[in-house]
Symmetry: C2
Subunit: 458 residues, 2 copies
Amino acid sequence: MSEKKIPTKMYLDESELPRAWYNINAVVKHDPALNPKTLKPCTLEDYSKVFCTELSKQELNVTDEYIPIPEEVQEFYKMIRPSPLTRAYCLEKVLDTPAEIYYKFEGNNTSGSHKLNSAVAQAYYAKQEGLTSLTTETGAGQWGTALSMACAYYGIDVTVFMVKCSAEQKPFRKAVIETYGGKVIPSPSMTTEVGKSILEKYPETGGSLGCAVSEAIERANETPNCKYVLGSVLDYVILHQTIIGLETKAVLEKFNIEPDILISCMGGGSNFGGFIAPFIKDKKEGKKNYRIIGVEPASCPTLTRGKYVYDFGDTGKTTPLLKMYTLGSGFMPAPNHSGGLRFHGMNPIVSKLYHDGYIEATTVKQTEVFDAAVTFAKSEGILPAPESSHSIRVAIDEALKCKKTGEKKKIVFCLTGTGYFDLKAYTAFNEGKMTDYVPTDEDLAKGFATIPDIPQNK
Amino acid sequence: MSEKKIPTKMYLDESELPRAWYNINAVVKHDPALNPKTLKPCTLEDYSKVFCTELSKQELNVTDEYIPIPEEVQEFYKMIRPSPLTRAYCLEKVLDTPAEIYYKFEGNNTSGSHKLNSAVAQAYYAKQEGLTSLTTETGAGQWGTALSMACAYYGIDVTVFMVKCSAEQKPFRKAVIETYGGKVIPSPSMTTEVGKSILEKYPETGGSLGCAVSEAIERANETPNCKYVLGSVLDYVILHQTIIGLETKAVLEKFNIEPDILISCMGGGSNFGGFIAPFIKDKKEGKKNYRIIGVEPASCPTLTRGKYVYDFGDTGKTTPLLKMYTLGSGFMPAPNHSGGLRFHGMNPIVSKLYHDGYIEATTVKQTEVFDAAVTFAKSEGILPAPESSHSIRVAIDEALKCKKTGEKKKIVFCLTGTGYFDLKAYTAFNEGKMTDYVPTDEDLAKGFATIPDIPQNK
């Protein structure tokens, strides 16, 4: 027992909670988003047409390293935060590894994930701006749930375009969103022009985040006093998610833990960016030398096999052009079970960090991911989300390497959420019916062909 | 802000966690359980035929006020405990009440409820005794999930007889239990003699906890190196669940909160008993005068309309006879959505406390319960289990009384779990299709007719 000086669960006190988000754009500069019509950097006016003004300002802020969290958002955070940092003693024992494994668990709220961190901020700013409704897209359903929770709290209507194959895999997600008063439309749908045109081209498609974004933007544009909000990809979302990294850094310091490896999964980049942002400056300045690993599904290998160019964030090509790693906005990912990771692009900050060599990226296959998920569930008592299990897979692999070398590395990963609405996927895995999919170079070439042919991409 | 001296979430430090359970049987004596054949008090030998020896000893222990928690169980507890005590600032604001509302949240684990507290203890003792498999029943599915998690942790097989209407309402519960390696059989089933005979009598029955208990006991008796375990009703289960009350009492003291009202829902009595047990002595000795309220569904009004007599714990009449409030082991509760509260009897300690006037009991109707659940979900960010929402209903009602009187009462309730697997019920409520059921006196008379006609009941 004397070895166990580190508690299993570690919390910050309420008085230690961060009161400002961390704006990594003040430290790492990436190429600006472009207005697709003018090919000039997006202005506040450009952004404000689609997004709330305050969020647009945050998107463009490259000067303030810290941005205060509004008092009202802090009050909400206190209901769901701090999230615990857990030492995975039981998993370590099962793996018989000398490594120390830690996870920051963001799933202890009804949205089942970290998504609520940004949802509540976005709903707050929408309310402040006097909006009466919002639209959004959702992949796995976690963002849609989070936003409907936040909108219920602030008394705002919300319409959620949910990627069709996720909606079918997770019927009860719809029920949760509806309990919170949100409206769910499986995407692509016949309720928008862009949805109709996608369905005409691909009548059998299970949908994608890219399609759902296009539909949600179209609906917002048509609706009075309504704007579109987004749960990932944009810098302001990462800004809000830095609450994860700030808490993680603070609690690691509180308990004198020096991490060797930081790991998280990557879809649009929001949890990953938010988790690692507060650690980048020290690494950039050579004060710390931890490895930072992003994990993506082999079926949607944006960083590891994509191109670093300007591309649209949606299939309908209506968003600003973002300089990012992308598989092309026309890339249609296979319907794997990690709906939250099925996005063709990657947030520009995360892309830039990868391009500059500050972070690594790796891919894992779905069946390997679920194998890790079940090991984790049985030892740590939490049934993880498929998305989060990508991080578990890599954390376990790194811990098993330590077993071979005898190294006592400290591995910290972000456990983004729970798998309570992913039981069809678990059943497929339990019954041995889950398959893996890795796109061929030809598959990727089709996606790359949809990347815009503009001077900046030459 | 100056008013908010009490944090939203309150935790004990790991070093402050209880190291012994609280055995209320050393303080409040109830009539002993009887062997149904001899009508003599059950002996250790009687119990040990069905239950693990160590658990049987705990059941019979009426001398030790504290019983140490095994080190290995404490290690597991550290993964899921302490559970937070939350000040419901946002709910208070929505209700516009001067009352202070607090809840102890037991749902932050994959079983989704407090059930894991006892499951891990029971699986541990089974392992120690060298058993290789266990059987059990489950109503809402929370106990079955909890036991399968605990058994996965200790490497023991488990078969779960799940009340049929719950199994149908909650298809994904089965998937979670199977992911943890458990086997699920909807009850009544054709796999046992008692199941066959119940199905012959009531072919359309949705099942009940009483039926499922009988089936699980029969299966355990037939299986080598296997015993039956129970998630509620027995005193040893309450013993394990006192971890809830001990933590609650300690954290209230830590933050100088003097409760006026303690509330929890009642099915078999395990969470209720565990939550309130550590508070009873002070009340009994006149040191404290808090009100303690148990909440039961109007459809299964065990304390409020039942009889205080000796009765069987199962429909098949195979368990020891327990002196308790009961509706008769033949009472077939209507299939309401709170599967965990559909039990004809009530733990003997809780029954005795009610009989002696130390606690109150009240009933609430299903639609009122879901109305409170949605209010809570929207303000506090947690979608509660239907069972737990019984407590929320009464907490809200008490807070609204304070609104009228201007009293600043401190209301503390146990939020036993989450409703993530109860979405069919929420959908029924959202769509206005949920109905209420209150048994007539004739309905109750049919149940009472099944109470055993023995000298002790004269």
